[in-house]
Structures are given as C-alpha cells and as structure tokens.
Symmetry: C2
Subunit: 423 residues, 2 copies
C-alpha cells in the first residue's frame, strides 16, 4: 500500500496560534484514492529541521506532502530548504505562475511587488503545477531510488487552506498517474444522544462479530454526536460496499432512532434533506445559542429553500417585543424556562410563517447561574402545527462548548420531531 506523510511548516502552528486544518483536508483526499497516511508532522520555520524531517519522512514514505512556508514574507523559508534537500544549484522563473501573480494582484487593484515576482522563482530540480488561487506555485520534487532506497515524491503546497485544498485535484491526478493504488473503503454512520461508552456496550456483541479485515472507530464530536467509522482495507469496492451495508443494517436494528444517518453527515444536513424532500420550512428563535443554530442551518448550500429566518432574542425586550413572549411568562418563570422557550418557538413560527421552529434559552456561562438554574442549563422548544414540546438538559463545560452542545441538542430534538411527524 502506498504510504504518505503530511508535513506542515510554520512557527505559528508550533506556538499554537494557528490550528492546522490542511493535514485533515489532505488526508481525507488521500484516503479516498487509497493512499494510507502514516503520519502527520508539524515543524517550525527552521532550515535544518525542515531538511532533516523531510528527509526522514521521504525515507519512510512513498509520498510526502508539505504545506506552508511559501509566503512572500521573510519568515517563509521552505523553498530554500527544498532547494538544498533536492541539491538544486539554480532557480528558474515559472512564466505561467508569474502570469497568474500579475492577474491576481491586478484584479485586486494591487501593485506587483518584487517579493510577489520572487514567488514565481523555483529550484530547477522541481516541476511546477500552477496555483490558480494564489501567488505561490505548487512544486513537485521526484527523487529516484538511489536517494531514499525507493522512488519518492515530495509535493510542496501553499499553507493558505483555501489554496492548499484547491491544489489537491492536481496532486491526486499526479499520484494516480504514477502509482497503482490498492483499495480502501470507509463508511461512517452518525449517532446522537448516546455517550461513547454506553454506545460501545450496546454494540459490543455486534463489534465482536465483525470480520477480521473490518475495523471500527468511535469518533465523538459535540456538534454531530458519536460517529462510527467502518473501514475495510484491500477489498474491492463493490464487495466492501455490500459487506458494510449488511453490517450497518444490523447496527441500525440495534441503535434505531439514535442512528440519524448512514453516511458522514451533520444534524443540520440531515434536517435540511428531510425538509427539502417534504417541502416544509423552518425558523429559529435563539437566546443562549446566539445565532449558532441559524449559522449551522445556513452553512448548508440550498438552505434558503427551507430556512425562512431566525430571531436572536438576547435581550428580554426582544423576546417580548419581537417574538411576542408575554411579559408575565418572563416575570413568573424566568427567561430560562419551559414556558419561555415554548412561547419563543411559537412566536417565531407565527412571525415567519414557517412549518417548524426551534427555540433555545439557557445559561452558557461563565457567569449568570444560580443553584436553581446552574450554568450549563438549557431549555429547548420545538414547535409545529401539531404542537409544541420542550426539553431541558444540563452540560458542564466552558462557554464555547456549552453553546455548541446547546445547539446540537436542539437540532437533534428538532430532527426527531420532524422525522416522527413526516414519516
């Protein structure tokens, strides 16, 4: 099996100011074509460390994909390190990239500076794939087996995630044209509402009976629930699909409604599909989640077909004045109450004319809680013409994570209501 290593270069990653998302995007793409990612490494902008680490990764892998350190500024030194690693004695100007640089900068009304032009200059030991989305070219270095004991290819990509992802189709084409790839097959199913260890216990017998070449992984995520991933290496696709379909059918029998999708999905994606299929619409009224539910729903392309809008009623005056929550409800029960979220859900459904609505009111923290209503408490309301239901839950985390859990729990209650009413 072809093995790859992904190396990200940049001091900003090592001091923790930037989270590396490129490695994840690249490994997703490599796995899809059957290249196994054996390791991801992040190192700083230090010449010797770059050269040493890349040589080691080339020794142990067929493919090394490098991102970062190609910017126009003085702290970016990857290109010089690659020149040394590949024993380049001269640089060459890549005319295609130079043209792209001129076009990109003039489209933005910017002058072409010397440091921009220098980005089109590359070591003479590499092939260039033009980067149409940015100024730094994509470089391909091919090493013969004399150098590392086996043929090895190094791809150097820009660190800007948008440009790195944009380069992937060309990189994958290059890899496919140079290697005969073995098969790998992954399927992910989505669950919500069962903790990882309880889930493991529920499906223990099923897991124990999985065939030898099938591997199961648990991937908990506060926004999507626990994902279960089944992988088969070395099997033909049709065969793998058929065998995994059968295993997932038994799993569905065990998990029932808690399994909300048989593919890699999100709660908001799942809700969007059901609403679209049934021609129904949705609105939201958010207090403690502050726009997060609305932002998740509208992250889905095409959501304008079913999402009419939302009101973030952070102040009580917006709850009463815009959503029509009776002042008496707030004074008698408080804004964080079953009565209030029910009135919010009904209010926003009336205001927008939607078929369904979801509402939240809670205490995200760090301050604002009481013995009776602790930080982490959320009330959730879901409403349709068939009625309004409310639920409450308590999470014990920091503000950011509490808001995420409030939002995903609300989306899950909404999903269950929609599924039950529309099935």
């Amino acid at each position: 099996m072809i093995k790859a290593s992904i190396c990200t270069i940049g001091d900003e990653i090592l001091i923790g100011q930037v989270i590396d998302t490129n490695s994840s995007s690249i490994s997703l793409a490599l796995n899809e074509i059957g290249v196994k990612v054996s390791r991801m490494v992040s190192i700083g902008d230090e010449r010797n460390c770059i050269i040493g680490t890349l040589a080691r990764e080339l020794n142990e892998n067929d493919i090394v994909i490098v991102t970062g350190g190609l910017g126009p500024t003085k702290d970016d030194i990857t290109k010089n390190a690659l020149a040394e690693l590949s024993e380049s004695t001269a640089f060459k100007m890549d005319e295609r990239q130079l043209e792209i640089i001129h076009n990109l900068l003039s489209a933005r009304g910017l002058d072409v500076l010397d440091i921009n032009i220098a980005q089109a200059s590359v070591p003479d030991t590499c092939e260039v794939i033009p980067n149409r989305l940015g100024t730094a070219p994509i470089m391909v270095f091919r090493f013969d087996e004399k150098r590392f004991g086996h043929p090895a290819t190094l791809f150097s990509l820009p660190g800007v995630p948008f440009e790195a992802i944009g380069a992937l189709p060309d990189i994958l084409e290059d890899i496919k044209s140079h290697h005969s790839l073995s098969d790998i097959y992954h399927r992910t199913v989505m669950t919500y509402g069962i903790a990882e260890s309880a889930l493991a216990k529920m499906i223990e017998e099923w897991e124990d009976n999985l065939p030898e070449d099938m591997h199961l992984a648990y991937l908990p995520n506060p926004l999507t629930g626990v994902r279960l991933r089944l992988s088969i290496y070395g099997s033909r696709k049709e065969d793998a699909e058929r065998r995994i379909d059968a295993e997932i059918a038994s799993l569905k029998g065990i998990l029932g409604d808690a399994m909300y999708s048989e593919m890699d999905d999100t709660l908001e994606g799942c809700i969007g599909r059901i609403l679209t299929e049934n021609g129904k619409t949705l609105s939201a009224a958010e207090s403690c989640t502050g726009g997060t539910i609305s932002s998740l729903i509208t992250s889905i392309a095409g959501s304008s077909a079913y999402f009419l809008g939302s009101v973030t009623s952070y102040a009580n005056s917006v709850k009463t004045g815009v959503l029509g929550v009776a002042e008496e409800i707030i004074s008698r029960y408080g804004a964080v109450s079953s009565e209030c979220v029910a009135a919010m859900a009904e209010g926003v459904r009336k205001l927008t004319g939607s078929d369904y609505s979801v509402a939240t009111s809670g205490i995200a923290g760090p301050g604002g809680g009481s013995d009776h209503k602790p930080v982490g408490l959320v009330w959730i309301g879901v409403s349709s013409e068939k009625g309004t239901e409310t639920f409450c839950a308590v999470f014990k985390s920091n503000r950011k994570r509490n808001i995420e859990r409030f939002a995903s729990t609300a989306l899950n209650y909404l999903r269950v209501k929609i599924v039950n009413e529309l099935k």
Copy 2:
C-alpha cells in the same frame, strides 16, 4: 531550552475525519512557560508505530506529551503501548480515578461498566494525575538518562479536547517543578483590511531594523485579519515587554487604524470592549451570513450587556415583515443591494432600540449569482443615530469561507464606525 514534542494518537486524525485541536492548546500553554515545542506528530492506533514514534520523540526531546487512544473502546491501545515502552510488567488500579469514574457516571445516571472500571487500571511504571473531567487517568512516565541519553518525561492525556485542556494546569506544574525554564515572550497585534504581502511591504523597513533576537511572524486568518507576532527568546520579561512596547508603538504609527488591537484579539472582542466602555448597545440583521455575526458577537462572555439581538432574514418575507424593508426596495434594487442593507440596518436598530446595528446581504454560493451580482458579492450596512453607511466587497471562495469573510468584513466596518463616532 527545554524542548517538547506533542504526539496525538488516533486513526480518526490520519484519515482526516477529526481535526487535531489538542496540539494547538497544549503548545500555547507550553510556550507560555518557556518550553519550546519542536515538533507535533499525529500517528494511528498501531502498537509498533506508537512505540517507535514515542521512543524517537523521547530521544530528541525532554518532554513528550501524548493525547488520545485512552478511550474505553477496543480501538484505543495507547495504554498497552505505553506499558511496553516503559517495560511495565504489571498493571495497578488507581483508586482515586476509580472513585472519579463512579462519581462521573452516577451523576449522569449511567451504570459503571467493566470497560469503565478498566480505565482506572494503569501500568505500574507510571505516576497518575487524576482526571476530574473524565474517566481516563493522566499518566506520567519518567525515564532516566540511561534510557534516552537524557532524562525524559512522557505525559499521557485523554484525547477529548475538554479533558486534555483541563489536565494542562497539573502538567505545567509538574514541568515547572522538574525543570528550570528559560524565558520566552510573545506579543501579537491585530490588523484588518490589508493583505499579507501589502502589509509586508508597508512595514519592510521597520521589520529590517528589528533587533537580532526579535522574530516577526505573519499569521493571516479570514476571521480576524493578519495577526503579527513578535517573539523574543532568552530575555527577561520586563526587559522584553519594554522593548516590544517600543517596537509596537512605531508599528502603530505606520499602520494606523488598520491595527485594531495591541494584544491577541478578535474583531468581536474589540467591539465588545468599546461598547461596554461607552455603555452603547448593538443589534444585527443578517441575510447571507445566516447568524454568523450574531454567533461571533455572543461568543464573548458578557456580550448580553451590549448585544440586544438580531434577525436572520433569510427569506425576503422576513426582511419586509419583520425588519420593515419596503417591498419596493427589494423589487427595484434586489435583496443584495446598498438600499436593502441600509433598510435592514435601520430596521433592526428600530426594532431592538439599539444604538448601533450591522446588516449583511450577499451571495455566499455555490449557486445564485449573476453577471451583475456574482457569487461572493456582499453588501454591508452599519447604522447609528448619526447615520447609515453601506459598503460592498467581493470574495472568491467557497460558501463557508465566503460567509466567514462577509462576517469579518462587516464586523470591521462596524468597528471603524464605532471607533470614529465614540473617540
């Protein structure tokens, strides 16, 4: 200088389904106490790979911090690999962790299963730091210099980010009590609205004149603008602070209003501070940004003091019916227009009674554009009692990134208006 390596373990990272955020949190914390992170490595749940990689990292570093692979389920094998690496011949039960497991699970109303109890069992070669936030204990393995040529310590943390971060204070205490640490000092200033290469050109002379021991890094981010980070290694804190303050003062002279904060900050954090200081309030009306602006503003603890609420007016009926945008504006100019965002901004300010408001309407894509109004076009309106202004911008990216850029550009216009009116 004490060197550390951070290793994350888990197939889910290598196949790209989970983005590693632990490494970033851990390296931020290590840098703050003057430990230099030399490398971050991610590897899969494979015994030999875990043992080989950790031995190599222990060879080259004083400290190795491992996260992941400690879950209760069968795919988690880190603990057995650590037993082998540390030549443990037996496991011991940690009674403190066992008690925590019982308390945590019973608080959630869950049964204590055998696989939960097994989590409190650890190799007899390690010291245990209790994990109060989860079931897997934190393990500390100390190797003497005979093993790796120098004393080396390995800390094993749970992979769940909330628990890994929760373990850091104890880990940092342990490191500080075993090492005499040298000094490191970072400062970050925030800029918005100038592209990285133009910024580099603007500050080239200043950058060239920085002292030898001061290092500058550019950290572009679509949500916050370009961050500039100055670092000094080996200098005393008061000394480093004084010298960096002087450099930042000159930088402020060059960048003016484009430098929005002299510390690591966000646009929404900066806006929140100014509004709080001046006792002013804010509301938002979002179309294309779908709740993202509101969600960013309410991510700040204490935002309920100045943020009254928002309306996500995805459907035109919500723009007219809730925000009071005249139907004639939409039919004559379209929903994506200067006239519409001005009416939205004024509408939501009137609806909520806020001092300031911000509004967006644009085309996030992938579909929905035209020659006249392409995908990536956004109109932004900002309003106060002193008047309403509108701006437009075009970004050329995917849906997610366009929405992020729309939101941050809108927050920046809002910031500039607030700063100019309140200064």
